[in-house]
């Protein structure tokens, strides 16, 4: 359906509406020396009345029409070629669409060629209807609104009310996103747990390969998420072992020791690490770090796999350094200077001051950043997808491969099964729900801790 020309025409009409409204208001003003609203407001009013109702119709029609066209086209197929399920329906539709768009393709049957022709005709009609209904509404809006312009007409109040409505509506979208996340995760998780018992999900065995279709007998597969949770925790632990000391110490160095000039250069440079896309870290982990770690492990006589928890954890740790560092930086600089001065005046060395005065005072803030960094590590996806591997091992050997919640979410939805009806794909949503709850809790706790701490010195 050709929707862009219609949108273009609608926008053009609205601009015309603005010009007409403003011009008519100017005319009225020149005759009467009084006008309730500025001509610009009348212009906006006309433009909005032209645009908004037509937009509503445009959205409604363009969502509704494709479905009816598809259904009508398929209905006209001969009985023996009627699609039997959702997949064959999609295949048939795809063929009809590509037949009608490209000329060089050979149809699989004469009925298909006929359907493609029908489809094209319907599409053209639909476009026509869309254009007539949308632009008709716009023109009616334009005519009606521009005829309303009088000295007393309160265009400004109406325009401002519409704008206020738009403002408050858009802030509700933020809630809608959260509701959307929660509902979609919940809804699909419930469908998952209808097929796989909760006890299975809490087990220790993860092998989803067997569950190919839901109607297969005796092949539910095992969806024990514990190895995944363990793997996530294990890699996050390695990452935090890298990120916490380095992030914290570099924050201490930059805030307490480095000269102002040095800090001004080093801090943004460190922050570049945070701006590097995670897929780049992933490539780096899998191409450069993992082989090195494997060679290192083998030189020590440890049986190391090419996917290792250590490679993923180390690189993830580096990714989190700037995050940990800048949050600790904030916490340290928020400690009142008088506390530091007092300690130094009593003869403590700078490092004693930092360890015994600054760090305890900044501890809540640092703890908050620690929790946020953990939540980052848990939710990180690309590094582990590329470097940690798929094998669900319960191992404490960091040279072995482990798998994580996020890896399995990606694996479930990129495994080639595109419909959301087998437990193999639905498990992604159950894992997503788990991930969402854990990270949400961590964030809430972290924000509480930080907030409580801030109040102590204000």
């Amino acid at each position: 359906m050709q929707i862009w020309p219609v949108i273009f025409a609608l926008v053009l009409l609205s601009l015309v509406g603005f010009a007409v409204g403003q011009w008519r208001a100017t005319v009225v003003l020149s005759r009467n020396e009084y006008l309730h609203s500025r001509p610009g407001h009348h212009g906006w009013y006309t433009a909005l009345i032209t645009f908004l109702p037509a937009l509503v119709i445009l959205i409604a029609v363009s969502f509704y029409l494709p479905h009816t066209i598809d259904a009508a086209t398929l209905e006209n197929l001969p009985h023996n070629e009627q699609p039997v399920d959702a997949l064959s329906r999609q295949v048939a539709l795809n063929e009809i669409q590509s037949l009608s768009q490209h000329s060089g393709i050979l149809p699989s049957s004469p009925a298909m060629a006929e359907a493609a022709k029908n489809y094209e005709v319907r599409l053209r009609q639909a476009t026509l209807w869309l254009a007539i209904s949308v632009l008709g509404t716009a023109i009616i809006g334009l005519v009606v609104s521009s005829s309303q312009i009088t000295t007393q007409f309160k265009a400004r109040s109406i325009v401002e009310a519409i704008f206020m409505g738009g403002l408050s509506l858009s802030s509700v979208i933020a809630i809608l996103i959260t509701v959307g996340i929660v509902l979609s995760l919940l809804f699909e998780s419930i469908r998952f747990f209808e097929k796989v018992p909760l006890l299975n999900f809490l087990g220790t065995s993860w092998s989803t390969q067997m569950a190919i279709r839901s109607d297969q007998v005796g092949s539910v597969g095992s969806f024990g998420a514990l190895p995944l949770i363990y793997g996530t925790a294990f890699i996050s632990l390695i990452a935090m072992l890298v990120a916490v000391p380095i992030g914290l110490m570099s924050a201490i160095y930059l805030t307490q020791y480095a000269s102002l000039k040095m800090r001004r250069i080093l801090k943004p440079v460190l922050e570049i690490l945070a701006g590097v896309p995670t897929v780049v870290y992933g490539v780096f982990a899998v191409i450069t770090i993992a082989p090195a770690i494997r060679a290192w492990g083998q030189s020590m006589g440890i049986d190391a796999t090419s996917d290792s928890a250590l490679a993923a954890g180390l690189v993830m740790g580096v990714m989190i350094i700037p995050f940990m560092s800048s949050m600790s930086d904030d916490a340290l600089t928020a400690v009142p200077q008088s506390m530091r001065d007092g300690s130094l005046a009593l003869g403590a060395t700078p490092s004693e001051t930092i360890r015994k005065v600054l760090l305890p005072a900044a501890l809540p803030g640092i703890a908050g950043s620690f929790l946020l960094a953990i939540s980052r590590a848990i939710g990180e996806t690309m590094i582990v997808v590329m470097a940690a591997g798929q094998a669900a091992n319960l191992t404490i050997n960091p040279f072995k491969s482990v798998t994580t919640v996020t890896v399995q979410i990606v694996a479930a939805l990129t495994g080639g099964d595109e419909t959301f009806d087998s437990p193999r794909t639905l498990v992604a949503f159950a894992l997503g729900l788990l991930l969402f709850i854990i990270t949400l809790l961590l964030n809430i706790i972290a924000l509480r801790v930080v907030k409580k701490y801030r109040e102590a010195y204000d």
């Binding site: 802030s171 979208i173 000391p245 780049v280 996806t381 959301f420 992604a428």
Partner: protein, 434 residues
């Protein structure tokens, strides 16, 4: 007791050997601590340098392509008598190449060696020949020397990377093939060129032909949708929350909500996109429209938070002044507060968009991963984006793909640097200090 305690106290003798020892120890600890801090900073910086250096070094060879010289005879019987457009379209250009190769390397007689010969020239050579004939139909029936795009073997050969031992999945050339390449090299029939195809071609199964044009355009389309969807919504939300929202439970909830949304792992947004856009609204899988809308959900909270900070930085006196002179609250905000806050908002938006540009995980979940051999032409076409292309190439085993992975990373980082530099420029140039 107290008196007793006081009488026992002796003034500290700072020159005492034990005391000197202790002070030395404390100063040593101080030095160690300081050095430790310095080391961590150097480690982080060193890692950054290592990471970028590694990428740049590995990316460098990807910008070189190889061409092979071949004398091609356009046999006029292949074109029909009329030599119409259709004849030119239908001619078997592969046969010309085969004939040319057989003439150049007459020692190849049996089927296997002939097939091996064909592997010298890239698939794309047929398109080059066809374009040449289309441009100049007089070529039909004549013989001309062409520089044709070389295959992956030729490309590796001119880069001295063929037969690299111990590389898993590496393309290996037979001895006869190597002999041919050596003879072609010594005759000056091989040459290195700048790899323009890398920037103009979509992804390909043939390593030597794969380019980033498809995924780069995919990224562009996706970001366009993201910007269009997230920017107005985020700005409106920020204005409402900062300037108009009454203080009540609902607006408190919205605030907490937005802060939490900014910390939700990106992969969750992918799940949301998969279930709402693909499952519920039945939009086109893998399309940049779906990708852009998914990233918009993720970027919106970031832009809202940055925009709110920018609005907050505008002193209330600006707004009050406007209202005192008779402006309506809406006019005061849109005519006075917003222009002052705009640089900060744009900075936040660019930073949010640069994060969206580098994002991979949510896009994998909505099917933007896989092989897309065309440059997308509409928002509904299936496409990859740059980071996903990097992910796909990184899992390929061929050496040329590994080089292209690094080159694509370089391009992505370049885009990110440009975006962030723009953001910093905006902030420094236009931000007002009150």
């Amino acid at each position: 007791m107290i008196e007793d305690h006081q009488t026992q106290q002796v003034p500290t003798n700072w020159r005492d050997a034990a005391m000197q020892q202790r002070i030395k120890k404390r100063y040593a600890a101080e030095k160690r601590f300081r050095l430790f801090g310095f080391t961590t900073v150097i480690f982080a910086l060193g890692f950054l340098v290592f990471l970028i250096g590694d990428v740049v070094l590995k990316a460098f060879p990807a910008f070189t392509a190889a061409e092979i010289q071949l004398s091609v005879t356009f046999d006029s019987t292949a074109f029909g008598l009329a030599r119409t457009r259709a004849d030119i379209d239908a001619a078997e250009y592969g046969a010309f190449i085969k004939a040319g190769l057989a003439k150049r390397f007459p020692e190849a007689q049996n089927r296997t060696t002939k097939r091996e010969l064909r592997e010298l020239v890239s698939e794309d050579a047929e398109r080059v020949l066809k374009a040449a004939v289309e441009a100049n139909p007089d070529l039909i029936g004549k013989t001309k020397v062409f520089w044709l795009p070389g295959s992956d073997i030729v490309e590796l050969y001119v880069k001295n990377q063929l037969n690299a031992k111990g590389v898993v999945g590496e393309r290996l050339a037979s001895d006869t093939m190597l002999a041919r390449l050596n003879s072609a090299q010594s005759n000056g029939e091989l040459r290195k060129t700048f790899n323009t195809r890398f920037f103009s071609a979509p992804d390909s199964k043939h390593a030597e032909l794969a380019g980033i044009a498809g995924s780069a355009k995919g990224s562009l389309l996706t970001l366009f949708v993201t910007l269009l969807a997230a920017f107005p919504l985020a700005i409106f939300t920020a204005i409402y929350l900062e300037q108009f929202a009454p203080k009540n439970h609902l607006t408190d909830f919205i605030e907490v909500n937005i802060n939490n949304l900014a910390a939700v792992p990106s992969v969750i947004y992918g799940l949301l996109g998969a279930s709402v856009y693909l499952g519920f609204m039945e939009m086109h899988r893998s399309a940049s429209l779906v990708g852009g809308l998914t990233l918009a959900l993720m970027t919106m909270p970031t832009i809202v938070i940055a925009s709110r900070a920018a609005i907050k930085a505008v002193p209330p006196s600006i707004r009050d002044g406007a209202v005192a002179l008779g402006a309506s609250p809406l006019q005061a905000v849109f005519h006075h507060v917003l222009p002052s806050a705009m640089p900060g908002m744009l900075t936040g938006t660019i930073i949010g968009m640069s994060r969206a540009l580098g994002e991979t995980a949510p896009l994998l979940l909505i099917g933007m991963v896989g092989f897309f051999g065309d440059i997308p032409s509409s928002f509904n076409d299936g496409t990859a984006v740059l980071p996903v292309q990097i992910y796909i190439w990184a899992s390929a085993t061929e050496r040329l793909f590994a080089q292209k992975t690094s080159a694509a990373i370089l391009v992505l980082l370049l885009f990110l640097i440009i975006m962030n530099a723009t953001a910093i420029y905006f902030r420094n140039r236009f931000e007002k200090r009150w």
